[in-house]
């Protein structure tokens, strides 16, 4: 009951003119940061850190968290409209969101992604409020072997993503894992595959690869088709989903929110892997799995519900243990420290006003996101009516600046162009490009935890720990089932 009273106090604080204006500012900035490839929530947050000196700590945190939440949603806007996911986690949103746009229904995709995002965000926050204690304990008990198993589980979603092309999907995923090993080995500190070049010491950054593989390769593909006259979308008559359509997605959103929150608590795994797993699970449970990848609203909802609810999950280790789960939450820790507050369990006792003000603002920020997104969607759907003759050069310009801004490095721009050409070639020969991104996201988690696990418990540790054994087993099943299904279908058609 004390919890509810505290939360009530928090809400009472947040519902005031200044906090609400702060949240609106944060959400707006977050949407922009998320939608613009190369601008990341942590950059947006870092930009504001100097301003937050002057603010009260609660307000500062509210602002930062609002940016963080909105950025997670913002990534889906460009994923849906121009197939350029602004954040790695919105890659999954583009699987079905962009096909919907191509079919002339960007409104449906944008609507579903917004609603799934905000509901996912609210559910994630509620889980954070009520179950942060036990979930934090679970996160701590997670052994490197289990992290490795989780990463492998994430990788097996490639099998169902690839469908008939599963072999190509796996080749792409493993290639992603392999190029992720370029750079300084996180465990031994040895530089690998760098050929002595210092720009390769940190390997390939994810965002330029993402922009190249998705946005650029898509443009190359359309340029090749020579089709830039077609105007598929008429925004005036654009259809938006009805309440009934949203209601049909309730189970999908609930399920993906639960998946998102739980996977979100593991530092480093976060939103992307949650979105992939949620998409995979939803596809397997769906009545219309064939629709996935061609414009399924369930697919959009699964991806967005999971990546938005993972925000709540990522805050669990931060608030209860004082340990950042991602780059963005690391900035939150910095912001707390600059305000002379020490993140960790004692913050709940010493400054409950801050913690519960923050939790209440999370709920409110999602509501405001829904409102702003609702009106905003009418605005950014207009991107789809920009003539391609203008849009394509602009997207190139965005890609250049976006990949440069990640590390202020020119090498990243060249890498982005390289990935663009590479992605275009792969697409011509029916290789899905998303597994490369998944491989790059999971590569580090898989590798470092594999080695840590072996260092701690020897080679057999993956099978002697029940947690990792069960997860590897689930991974095997999730790998095998789609392949067996595909075989059966192949057999039938023959």
């Amino acid at each position: 009951m004390e919890l509810l009273a505290n939360l009530g106090n928090g809400l009472a604080y947040v519902i005031g003119v200044v906090p609400i204006l702060t949240i609106i500012l944060g959400v707006t900035m977050g949407i922009i940061a998320g939608a613009m490839p190369g601008l990341s929530p942590s950059m947006g947050v870092a930009l504001l850190v100097p301003f937050t000196y002057a603010m009260s700590p609660t307000l500062a945190l509210i602002l930062l968290v609002a940016i963080y939440i909105a950025a997670n949603y913002g990534g889906s806007i460009t994923a849906v409209t121009i197939n350029a996911p602004g954040t790695p986690s919105s890659v999954v949103t583009s699987f079905d969101g962009y096909p919907l746009t191509k079919r002339g229904k960007p409104g449906v995709a944008l609507g579903v992604s917004l609603v799934a995002s905000t509901i996912g965000g609210i559910l994630g926050t509620l889980i954070l409020i009520f179950f942060s204690g036990p979930l934090a304990k679970l996160a701590l008990k997670f052994h490197p072997a289990e992290y490795f198993a989780l990463a492998i589980f994430g990788l097996t979603t490639v099998a169902s993503l690839g469908g008939k092309n599963w072999m190509k999907a796996f080749i792409a995923a493993i290639f992603g894992l392999l190029i992720n090993t370029v750079g300084i080995d996180p465990i031994s500190g040895v530089s690998r595959f760098t050929f002595g070049q210092s720009f390769l010491y940190d390997g390939f950054a994810l965002i330029p690869a993402l922009i190249g593989l998705f946005a650029l390769s898509e443009i190359f593909k359309q340029l090749e088709g020579g089709q830039f006259d077609s105007q598929t979308v008429d925004s005036g008559k654009q259809k938006w989903p009805t309440i009934l359509e949203y209601w049909k997605l309730k189970l999908t959103i609930l399920r993906s929110s639960a998946i998102g929150t739980i996977i979100g608590i593991f530092p480093g795994a976060g939103a992307t892997i949650a979105a992939f797993i949620s998409y995979d699970v939803t596809k397997k449970l769906s009545k219309t799995p064939d629709e996935f990848g061609k414009g399924s609203v369930e697919g959009v909802a699964a991806a967005e519900g999971a990546n938005s609810s993972s925000v709540g999950g990522a805050l669990i280790p931060l608030l209860t243990l004082g340990i950042p789960g991602s780059a963005s939450t690391a900035v939150l820790i910095g912001a707390l420290m600059i305000h002379d507050l020490t993140p960790g369990p004692q913050l709940f006792i010493s400054n409950p006003d801050i913690i519960y003000g923050l939790l209440a603002s999370l709920l409110l920020a999602n509501v405001i996101l829904l409102g702003l997104g609702f009106f905003g969607s009418r605005l950014w759907i207009k991107v789809t009516i920009i003539p391609k003759r203008i849009l394509f050069p602009i997207i190139f310009a965005v890609s250049v600046i976006g990949s440069f801004a990640v590390r202020n490095s020119f090498f990243d721009v060249i890498a982005c162009l390289g990935f663009g050409v590479f992605g275009w070639i792969l697409k011509r020969y029916n290789y899905p490009v998303a597994p490369i991104v998944l491989g790059m996201v999971l590569g580090n988690i898989a590798e470092t935890n594999f080695i840590r696990a072996v260092m701690m418990g020897g080679w057999s540790v993956f099978f002697t720990r029940p947690g990792s054994f069960i997860m590897l087993l689930v991974a095997l099943v999730s790998f095998a089932v789609p392949l067996i299904q595909a075989r059966k279908e192949n057999f039938k058609t023959k």
């Binding site: 008990k141 088709g225 020579g226 830039f228 690391a330 250049v400 202020n408």
Partner: protein, 511 residues
């Protein structure tokens, strides 16, 4: 004849120009600073060094009329930020926010040259190293840990940040002094390692006392300091626990400038550092975390850096992090000329294969096979490269890349067989590859131009050219769109986010 007169005037012109440049630059230095000073931070926002830089910028604001801009250049443990500082002129406008960890990284990657490339201007604080333990573990008191480690040598798991970093080297030093041994399990960040300690996966964590703040389960088992810290009176020092030689293990944070920065600029900074160090707000902010706030500059700091270099060199060589051992016969193909020859050879093989496929009945599958060949060739090159990695432990740096390669190669071969079997499959006809290639050409020219005429002008030209090439007609719309984009990128990226977009070589010469 005319030529030599021309050369004469040209020479005179350059002489005068040189004099002018020297005059202008000395004038500029007299008025240092006359433009914003960049504090280059080698981590992303949020880390302690980032906070140090930002806090410094806000405190320094009280004392001098200068604008400080914090620029995050994360990557390669500080090498990326170092390169950024070294590329700029030695005029003092790029302040490198450095820590002792940088020395470790510099030694690992570039040796002493990197250390000597900087003028180590100021050490502003010393943060004592300490061993943290978890009170929920079976053993958490220092003496118990030492006894246990001596009983089971090399069995204990010590968690912490990167291998070969400051905390790892400190751990090795502690093990040496106590005559014990343990395993170092590195994590991506100190925070993750603390999580592992809290989860009971490690016995000890090496870090700083501040890490224990706000976490009741953590226990400071031993701290490296002459006396107990005022902020942590319950934490025993190593001297109390039997080893007096471990009283000076600390993490320092400070600032460095590019070597060759004029003395008056360094003096300007020295005055500022002294003022900031004496600032009560600055002092209180750090001392609360058990950090010793003291300004050390000049030769004294240079000596500290020199000692650190020697310590790191000793331990990094001893633990074989900096070494070339473990190579075998194949390794010569992984680097230098043999690698280049091999790569060229592989490419020739690839092209030849392509040619034969093109001539054969498999012509329709040419592209598909070439893609698979590309993956295979990459695998071979990566595989050979993996032989040059030093082998320092049972699971060395080559293990996981090889694991991926061993999965990738069979899949590629399987796919190759499949492709050859289904050769009747029709290749997707690329209708307008010429448009794509032209556009790629545009992009390459655009990126090259950016180097000379800067981001803004080249982008404008690229946008207009691209639109015209794609057949857009309305000139007004084209120019408006391009202008809006330029304005947007200028204000948002260049002005607000401080993304250092290239100005262009030619323009840099003008200004």
């Amino acid at each position: 004849m005319g030529k030599s007169i021309g050369t004469y005037y040209l020479n005179r012109f350059f002489k005068n120009l040189l004099i002018a440049v020297v005059l202008i630059s000395s004038f500029v230095q007299a008025n240092f600073p006359n433009k914003p000073i960049k504090i280059v931070v080698y981590t992303g926002p949020g880390g302690l060094i980032d906070i140090t830089a930002r806090k410094f910028a806000s405190v320094a604001d009280k004392y001098v009329d200068a604008t400080f801009v914090v620029e995050n250049k994360p990557g390669a443990g500080g090498i990326v930020a170092l390169k950024k500082v070294l590329q700029a002129p030695e005029d003092g406008y790029n302040l490198y926010a450095c820590t002792k960890s940088n020395i470790a990284k510099f030694i690992q990657v570039g040796g002493r040259d990197y250390v000597d490339a900087l003028h180590w201007t100021a050490m502003l604080m010393a943060d004592p190293e300490c061993v943290l333990t978890n009170v929920k573990n079976d053993i958490y008191k220092w003496n118990d840990i030492v006894n246990n480690a001596r009983q089971y040598p090399g069995k204990q798991n010590w968690v912490g940040p990167a291998t070969g970093g400051l905390d790892h080297v400190t751990a090795m030093k502690i093990w040496d002094e106590y005559g014990m041994s343990a395993k170092w399990i590195p994590y991506k960040s100190g925070g993750r390692a603390i999580a592992a300690l809290l989860g009971g996966q490690g016995v000890a964590y090496v870090g700083n006392p501040r890490d224990a703040l706000g976490k009741p389960d953590l226990f400071i088992a031993a701290v490296s300091s002459d006396e107990r810290l005022a902020a942590f009176p319950n934490a025993p020092t190593f001297a109390e626990l039997g080893v007096t030689a471990l009283n000076k293990e600390y993490m320092w944070r400070g600032f460095a400038l590019k070597a060759g920065t004029p003395p008056d600029v360094i003096e300007w900074y020295t005055d500022l550092f002294q003022q900031v160090t004496a600032d009560p707000d600055w002092k209180e902010f750090w001392e609360k975390g058990g950090i010793d706030v003291e300004f050390i500059g000049g030769d004294e700091f240079a000596d500290i850096v020199k000692q650190d270099v020697e310590t790191f060199e000793y331990y990094l060589t001893k633990s074989e992090i900096v070494s070339t051992s473990g190579k075998n016969g194949l390794s010569k193909y992984g680097e230098g000329t043999p690698l280049i020859l091999l790569t060229i050879g592989l490419i020739i093989v690839m092209v030849l294969c392509g040619y034969f496929i093109y001539k054969s009945t498999f012509a329709t599958t040419l592209g598909r096979i070439m893609v698979i060949e590309f993956f295979l060739i990459m695998s071979i090159i990566f595989y050979l490269q993996s032989f040059i990695f030093p082998v320092s432990s049972e699971v060395g740096p080559a293990v996981v890349p090889r694991l991926w390669i061993f999965t990738l190669v069979p899949l590629c071969i399987l796919l190759l067989i499949n492709t050859l079997r289904n050769k009747e499959g029709i290749e997707k006809a690329g209708t307008r590859i010429d448009i794509v290639l032209t556009f790629i050409g545009f992009l390459v020219i655009y990126l090259l131009m950016m180097h000379y005429i800067g981001y803004f002008l080249s982008t404008f030209i690229f946008l207009i050219t691209g639109m015209i090439y794609l057949g857009y007609k309305n000139k007004k719309v084209m120019i408006t769109t391009a202008t809006i984009w330029i304005m947007f990128s200028y204000f948002i990226f260049f002005k607000i986010l401080f993304v250092p977009l290239p100005i262009g070589k030619w323009f840099e010469m003008l200004f």
